[in-house]
Each structure stands twice: as structure tokens, then as C-alpha cells.
């Protein structure tokens, strides 16, 4: 069967991230993949409102918002590999990227969905879920910024795993291309273009491989799991925690240089993307919801105060082009 690779570009048409995505897709095509490109801004994707409707029994995780998500999601479901390419507007991926990733939340948490149905795929199907969420996928991130100063791309890719978490995409590489303000300027940098092509080839090579054989092609980074460098550091704590993986490491200072050590025996299964950790997070949330019943009356009583409080509401005015 043909391997399918999808590229999603979050910037403007013919802009730098689209160019790099095209280069990557072209390289994947040369390796025999079928490729497809989506310009995110062609799609109307509304932010999640947190209404919880997607959790209702029989809904199969489907959202109630009326927008272009069904088509966008269908293309992701069809793909075996996805390349996400976002401009860096404020130190990280765009608002559109962030809003879209919220839509791939617990409703697409494939581990919990399977676990809640006792591992019975027939039941999962009956519950209305698209079984393609269980397909193994690989992904790569591309981020493009105008700055010459890497500090202004401080969270360029480390804020991206929110997108690939719930369906357990295996991320194999990333590229942060800076110095590219004007559309097309990224082509002044052959190294970025080469890396984009490499990403395309790596994606093609990685599709269909068993999990154990999948490889991370990018820089090692600090976290041995996600390879990012963003950590929660609290004064007085004994460990630092990776913001994207949730793994904890101990710190030592050697001649002024920082070294972080991760105990693989305890952290391997604490990593956010493992089935064990995803289930344990689900249990933790569910356990906590049990607190609701005994408190329900008290809460409802208190809630009345807020429901009855009616400050001036700001509502959107008429649009110039309705």
C-alpha cells in the first residue's frame, strides 16, 4: 500500500513554511509516498470551547462545532506521516496551531478510548470512534521565524507536542528555521532546504516501521524522550520536570556546567506518551471527578450567585462583510 504523507502549513500561501513543507513533501514523494498539502488558513477551525459534548456516549469523540474540522481531520486520519509547519509569531507556534491542537484532546486519546472499552475494538467502533485513530503515524515539526536571535524562537517546537500527543504520533525530527522574515527568504539558507528534504525522506523511511525501530533524527536536546529543553524548575525541589514529557531528572553541576540525569528505570513509563502514563492520567482525572457527587449540592448552591450576577456583557458587533 502506498504511504501517505500530509503537510500542513500554518503561514501564508507561498510563504516560508509552505516552501519548506513543499520541499519535504517533494522528497517524500521521490521516496514513493503519495503527498498532500493543506494550507491551514483555508480551513475554518474554531477553538475548543470545553463543552465536553465530544465525551457523550455514542458520539465517538465528535465535536459539535460547525466548521471545517471533519475534512481536516479526515486527511490526518488518512495520512501515515504528517509534517506540521508553523511560523513563529510570538516565540512559539501560531494561535491557529494551538487552537487546532486543543481539538485533538481527550476525544482522540486513543489509549484511554481503548482502555475504557476494555480493549475491545468492536466496542470502540460501536461507540462511534473512527478506528483510524489507532493507525501508527509518524510526524515532524517545522518552525519558521524572522528573527536572527534564537531566543525569539524559545518555544518554537517545544510547544508543538500538544498536537501529536493524544493520537501518539511518533515525532522523528524537527527543524527550526530562523532568519526568514520575507516570504521566500528561507531559500537563502541551503541548510534549511536540505534539512526539509531530509525530513521528507526520514518520514518516508519511518512510515510502517515497528515502534522499536523508529529513530529520532534531530538534535539530542536535554530531555532524552522529547529532545526539548523546556523544564519546570521550582526552587527547593529535588528534580526538574520536562514540560512536554513530564519526566523528572536530577541535576548536578560539574565545573559550573549543568548536567541532568534521568533514571530510565523509573522514568521510561512516566513519560507522557506511554500507554501506562496516559491511562494513569485518565484514572487520576476520573478519580477526582468522584469528588463531584458528595459536593454537588454545595456547589450548586454557591453557583447560583454567579449565574445571577449579570455584568455588562461584551458581544461581537456587526461585521463589515457579513
Amino acid at each position: 500500500m502506498t504511504k501517505k504523507v500530509l503537510g500542513i502549513s500554518y503561514g501564508r500561501p507561498n510563504g516560508n513554511d509552505e516552501i519548506l513543507t513543499k520541499i519535504a513533501l517533494n522528497a517524500a514523494r521521490e521516496e514513493g509516498c503519495e503527498v498532500e498539502l493543506i494550507r491551514f488558513n483555508d480551513f475554518k477551525i474554531l477553538p475548543c470551547t470545553g463543552c465536553g459534548a465530544c465525551h457523550a456516549p455514542g458520539r465517538g469523540g465528535k465535536c459539535v462545532l460547525k466548521d471545517d474540522m471533519p475534512l481536516l481531520e479526515d486527511r490526518i486520519m488518512e495520512a501515515d506521516g504528517v509534517i506540521f509547519a508553523s511560523p513563529i509569531f510570538i516565540w512559539g507556534p501560531t494561535g491557529g496551531f494551538t487552537a487546532m491542537s486543543d481539538r485533538f484532546g481527550p476525544n482522540r486519546d486513543r489509549v484511554l478510548i481503548k482502555w475504557r472499552n476494555g480493549g475491545d475494538m468492536e466496542k470502540v467502533k460501536e461507540a462511534g470512534y473512527d478506528l483510524r485513530i489507532f493507525k501508527e503515524r509518524v510526524a515532524a515539526y517545522i518552525a519558521v521565524g524572522g528573527t536572527m536571535n534564537p531566543n525569539y524562537a524559545s518555544m518554537a517546537t517545544s510547544l508543538m507536542p500538544c498536537m501529536t500527543h493524544s493520537m501518539q504520533f511518533r515525532v522523528i525530527d524537527e527543524l527550526i528555521a530562523t532568519n526568514s522574515t520575507m516570504p521566500g527568504q528561507v531559500c537563502y539558507r541551503p541548510d534549511y532546504m536540505q534539512k526539509a528534504a531530509e525530513i521528507g525522506r526520514e518520514i518516508a523511511r519511518s512510515i510502517g516501521l515497528p515502534k522499536e525501530e523508529l529513530q529520532w533524527y534531530g538534535d539530542a536536546g536535554t530531555c532524552p524522550y522529547c529532545h526539548h529543553n523546556l523544564f519546570n524548575i521550582d526552587n527547593g525541589a529535588k528534580t526538574v520536570t520536562c514540560c512536554t514529557c513530564g519526566v523528572e531528572g536530577t541535576v548536578s553541576i560539574n565545573r559550573g556546567r549543568i548536567h541532568v540525569e534521568f533514571d530510565r528505570a523509573t522514568q521510561d513509563i512516566r513519560q507522557r506518551e506511554t500507554d501506562e502514563e496516559m491511562i494513569s492520567h485518565g484514572i487520576e482525572i476520573a478519580d477526582h471527578m468522584k469528588l463531584w457527587e458528595p459536593n454537588k449540592e454545595k456547589v450548586m448552591e454557591k453557583m447560583a450567585k454567579y449565574k445571577n450576577y449579570k455584568p455588562t456583557m461584551v458581544k461581537p458587533g456587526p461585521r463589515t462583510n457579513p
Binding site: 470545553g50 494561535g95 529535588k238
Partner: protein, 324 residues
């Protein structure tokens, strides 16, 4: 003149974010503030595409964005406010997407340092003077988890919203263990804190920046008080991904970690007018270089653009684009 405080909630109507925001607004109203509540989900706001269209007529004031959506109403009320309280759910480890969409739209367009550099803050400029007003602000984030690891970025990225117009944050509340709507009311301490936030924001409205007070927890970063740090293996220091201030890590014999910023220069953090202006200049240099080297990269870019790739598009365009 009365103080105007705007509450912005990114969650659902009558949900936890709204409850806490309302508590804060009630407290401010009792002190005499004029309050307004804005449910961000009532607004359709498109994600910035980076077209630079809003920069084009800069010398004569701001240009409208090409997207025809509800952002103008949003920003009108934001600019009018003296204080802002923003509450967002934490869906995937960090604040919700809709507040990020708005942050991008505020972005360089309303960057006070860039605009001031163009004389935008001078009395005779055509820019909206309200852009340069010092506002007091507070952030509230709400998550369902009991495990702080699942709110690892639950507060930090709110700085992306804070940055451009230099909203002065006086306090912050991250309310965890609050999943179902109303669950936040199980925790009296969160409600009390929200009330306090309303009072603090009210008190700091109209106060000059230097005299404003931060009431929240000290946190790790001495500037933004978040605990997210860029930690590179082998580096000599850690760096706040928002403020860019660097600190040294100390590890005590029992393994206790402290981040020490006492020897760091805190006067040049990212949110200072100087650093913001310098970033603007840096981008300017980069653009000049783009024009100088255009002959080299443009033909390459054009040939890349010609790569034919099947495109997927929705049948009808649901979003509207401003005409003209």
C-alpha cells in the same frame, strides 16, 4: 473618572473560568469599578497568517487586518479597559488556543515599543492613544488535573498575551483539580484568591508602572514569576523562555535545587521597552538583508513554489476576508 475592568473568559458559559472571573469582577465592582465580561467563545477570531498587511500604513495609524471577523470589537473593549482579568482553561498542559489566537493578532501590530519608535505615543500622532495606556492585569488558569505535571505550561505561555501591550501583571491564580463546571467552588481558597485578584487589579488601575505591585507567588523567574526554564545540557545557566533572564542553578548536598538570579542583569528582560525596540531593529536589519540578497533567494523560492503538490481545500470558504 471611573476605573474600567474587563474580564475575559476563554472557557464555557458559567464554567469554572467564568465563575472565578465573576468573583474578581464582583469584588472590583464593589470598590467602584465599571466592569464588563467578555466570553471569548462568543467571538469568531481568525488566526494571524503573517501577511504583514497590518504593518503597511504604519505612519498613519494602524491598518485593519485582512480578516473580517470579531477582533475589532474585542480590541476596542480591551483598549478601553484600565484593568484586565483573563481566565482560560488548561486543555493540553497550557492555556487554551483561543487566547493564543488573540495574542498573535495583538502581536507586533500593537507592540508599544515599535509604535513608540515611530512616534506613535506623541500627542500629535494618529495612533489610538489608548494603546500606550498602562493596564493592570491578572491571569487565571483552570485545569482538571491533580498532577501539576499536567499543567506544566499552565500559566507561562500567558506571557505571549501579556507581551506586546505590556500588560502589567499584578497577580496570578492557577486553579487545578477543577474539572466539571462549578468544581472550582469546592475549593474555597480559589474563590478567595479570585476575589483578592479583583481587588488588586482595581487598586493598580491607573497606577504608574514603577509603583505597581505584584502580589502573587515569587516563582522561579524574578521577572515573570513562572517556573518554566530553558535548560540545556552542559550550559552554565538556565534561561526564562519568556523574559530571557539567566540564572545559575545551585544544587545543595541533599539534591535541593535553587535558581539564583542575584547576579543576573534583570534590567534588560524581554518585556522592557529597550529590548522590545531592539528586537524591532533586529528584524529590520534582517529585512534589509532580505532585500539585499533578494537576487539570490528569490529565484530559488519561486522554483520551490512551483513544486506541484495536490492541495486539499474545503468546498466553500467559511471565513470571510475583508474587501478592498
Amino acid at each position: 473618572m471611573s476605573v474600567k475592568i474587563l474580564g475575559i473568559t476563554c472557557g464555557r458559559p458559567n464554567g469554572n473560568c467564568e465563575i472565578l472571573t465573576k468573583e474578581a469582577l464582583m469584588a472590583a465592582e464593589e470598590l467602584g469599578a465599571e466592569v464588563e465580561l467578555l466570553r471569548l467563545n462568543d467571538f469568531e477570531i481568525r488566526s494571524c497568517s503573517g501577511c504583514h498587511g497590518c504593518h503597511k500604513a504604519r505612519p498613519n495609524g494602524l491598518t485593519d487586518c485582512i480578516w473580517d471577523d470579531d477582533f475589532p470589537t474585542f480590541i476596542e473593549h480591551y483598549l478601553d479597559a484600565d484593568g484586565v482579568i483573563i481566565a482560560t482553561p488548561i486543555y493540553i498542559w497550557r492555556p487554551a488556543g483561543n487566547i493564543r489566537v488573540v495574542a498573535d493578532r495583538i502581536g507586533p501590530t500593537y507592540d508599544v515599543a515599535l509604535l513608540a519608535n515611530k512616534g506613535g505615543d506623541l500627542p500629535d500622532s494618529s495612533y489610538d492613544k489608548r494603546i500606550f495606556k498602562t493596564r493592570a492585569g491578572a491571569f487565571i488558569t483552570v485545569g482538571g488535573t491533580c498532577d501539576p505535571r499536567y499543567a506544566s505550561m499552565g500559566m507561562g505561555p500567558m506571557q505571549q498575551f501579556q507581551h506586546s501591550m505590556r500588560l502589567q501583571i499584578v497577580d496570578r491564580l492557577m486553579a487545578l483539580e477543577s474539572d466539571l463546571p462549578g468544581a472550582v467552588l469546592i475549593h474555597d481558597e480559589y474563590v478567595a484568591k479570585a476575589r483578592q485578584i479583583g481587588i488588586e487589579v482595581y487598586k493598580n488601575c491607573g497606577v504608574p508602572e514603577a509603583k505597581m505591585k505584584y502580589y502573587g507567588e515569587a516563582g522561579t523567574c524574578p521577572v515573570c514569576h513562572n517556573n518554566m526554564m530553558m535548560l540545556d545540557e552542559g550550559a552554565m545557566s538556565v534561561k526564562c523562555p519568556f523574559c530571557l533572564v539567566e540564572g545559575r542553578l545551585n544544587v545543595a548536598e541533599d539534591g535541593t535545587i535553587t535558581a539564583d538570579f542575584s547576579r543576573s542583569d534583570l534590567s534588560h528582560h524581554r518585556n522592557t521597552m529597550d529590548e522590545m525596540a531592539s528586537h524591532g531593529r533586529e528584524i529590520g536589519v534582517q529585512m534589509n538583508e532580505a532585500f539585499a540578497t533578494e537576487k539570490i533567494w528569490k529565484p530559488v523560492a519561486d522554483s520551490c513554489r512551483k513544486i506541484q503538490v495536490p492541495m486539499v481545500k474545503p468546498e466553500t470558504q467559511l471565513w470571510k476576508v475583508r474587501k478592498g
